[in-house]
Symmetry: C2
Subunit: 322 residues, 2 copies
């Protein structure tokens, strides 16, 4: 950031859809700077129009390829598409260490597509919060659809996927993913199941496994009459991609028509607040040079105070940046 | 739980090493019941003697096999070993959906080994807190070593591994894990790198990649003179398992002798407090029938209040169970 820019100019640039302003706003959102927090709040007030789609699945399930194929499909329909990749093994994340957006294949030259990758943060924390703020930037910048790609393991990842309007769980044949998905608590958040690599002979089995699980009622969420579909796709042959894109758009329509929309929005708001609160607790603990806090940590270390009691004290005395 | 038992009897059973009491205490610790929280606090005061070892790596890296081989090695040295498996794809987690402990192969008949698997919780949250409380139960019950197996992706998983005294990052040849590990923020927490499947021809490359990264100084933590080793192992031939076990025990000795121990303990206490605080925020939000909270969620949903401002209000007004 060589040239300084006023926050209001940056916001105006984002609302205008200026790619440089978008990228800078994203970097600010990812940072833990106070001006980053204020910028996120501004962006939040201007977001809320995009259809946010979460794609989740274990490494090797073919998520990235599916994101790419779906993006091409949505572009044919004239939609502008934002992509936020959180999976460290995603090819979209190639530049994640440098914190830069990267582009992939023929999406490179398309001005209607914006790709951002987020490195998972390890001990730094705050991934889910940063990811959802990044989605807001694309939303405020006028992208019609925002695709979030996450690996389907871990609390943050499940929370991120669960914060989308339409959640696609991606399974590949032969990985035993069906069972993995149940165990990881991901099945319950799927609005649509997509099975990749359906040119393979064993894809039928994966599809029927998923259908059986759905018949057993392992759906989790109340769905307001939405029947969770299982859609076979192949990036090789192009099979099923149009059906998947169409099902995603139908799901958005269903949310509106069924009356599920306010419930879903509410749940998403809850997750957003939760993730922000977790971030504040974490930041306060990590930056805490506070005597009181140091004493709590010391007592916990010596096992004279248990973590829950220490946490209660921490929360009571939390110093929150505003 | 057909028969009720007084909490103090249950604790006494755990301290005696009674397997039924241990299993019941773990179920209580995993629950969100108030008596579970009190039980965890009691257990915490009696824990702190075990050497806690975290093994982390992506699915397919051979963690479970390594946990098994290490356990056999430690048993030869007369150590009692507890195992907590958090990876949903682990064979140890076979019974995770039923919430039961499972056993594997020849560890089944060994009274010096206790295996517990934790299902990842998806939207329920609290995995890291529950896992670390489970470790405490094994610690208080007198297990000399507790091995935690987690998949190396996701905030909770990194936090869990980072709460061990000795962190082993497991990589397999040919998976490109080295790079994945850096990106996932896992490299920085490794005290020891173990490379599995070293009977394979391409294992040498993985080992040298990891060594190069270490030479580049990508170690993260301050290590008080500890040189992070890269150890090749093979479950097939048994190669390297003894060296790995020995390196783990050396690392524990290093923590003591170098003066790192109090720092490490402090960091672990911080993580424990953080995870408990996060749990409280999550529980409060999820169970919150509170008018004030409902109003905050509604404002956030309508985008008239941003998540960070709502989170600040939430924390100020948090009702915490005690």
């Amino acid at each position: 950031m060589s040239k300084m820019q006023k926050p209001e100019d940056l916001l105006a640039g984002v609302l205008d859809g200026n790619p440089r302003a978008i990228a800078r706003m994203m970097s600010l959102a990812e940072s833990k700077l106070p001006q980053g927090r204020r910028a996120c709040a501004d962006v939040y007030h201007h977001a809320g129009k995009a259809h946010v789609i979460g794609l989740t699945g274990v490494p090797g399930s073919g998520k990235s390829t599916m994101v790419r194929a779906l993006t091409q499909e949505f572009r044919k329909l004239g939609k502008r598409v934002g992509i936020v990749a959180v999976d460290p093994s995603s090819p979209f994340s190639g530049g994640a260490i440098l914190g830069d957006r990267v582009r992939m294949g023929d999406l490179t030259t398309d001005d209607g597509v914006f790709i951002r990758s987020l490195a998972t943060r390890g001990a730094l924390g705050g991934l889910a919060r940063a990811c959802l703020d990044t989605v807001d930037v694309l939303d405020a910048a006028g992208y019609d659809l925002v695709l979030i790609e996450t690996v389907g393991v871990g609390q943050d990842e499940v929370d991120i996927a669960g914060s989308a309007h339409s959640v696609i769980v991606v399974s590949a044949p032969g990985l035993g993913d069906g069972v993995q998905a149940i165990k990881a608590g991901v099945l319950e958040i799927a609005d649509i199941h997509a099975v990749s690599k359906c040119d393979r002979a064993d894809a039928g089995e994966t599809i029927s496994d998923l259908r059986s699980m759905l018949h057993l009622g392992l759906q989790g969420r109340e769905r307001f009459g939405w029947q969770v579909p299982v859609i076979g796709t192949s990036a090789e042959t192009g099979e099923g991609i149009e059906a998947l894109a169409s099902s995603i758009l139908s799901h958005r329509g269903h949310l509106d028509q069924s009356g599920e929309w306010p419930h879903r929005q509410r749940k998403i708001a809850e997750t957003r607040i939760l993730k922000s609160a977790e971030d504040m607790v974490r930041d306060s603990l990590e930056s805490g040079r506070d005597q009181n806090l140091q004493a709590l940590i010391d007592q916990a270390r010596k096992r004279s105070l248990d973590p829950a009691s220490a946490a209660r004290e921490l929360i009571k005395n939390l110093k929150i940046y505003s």
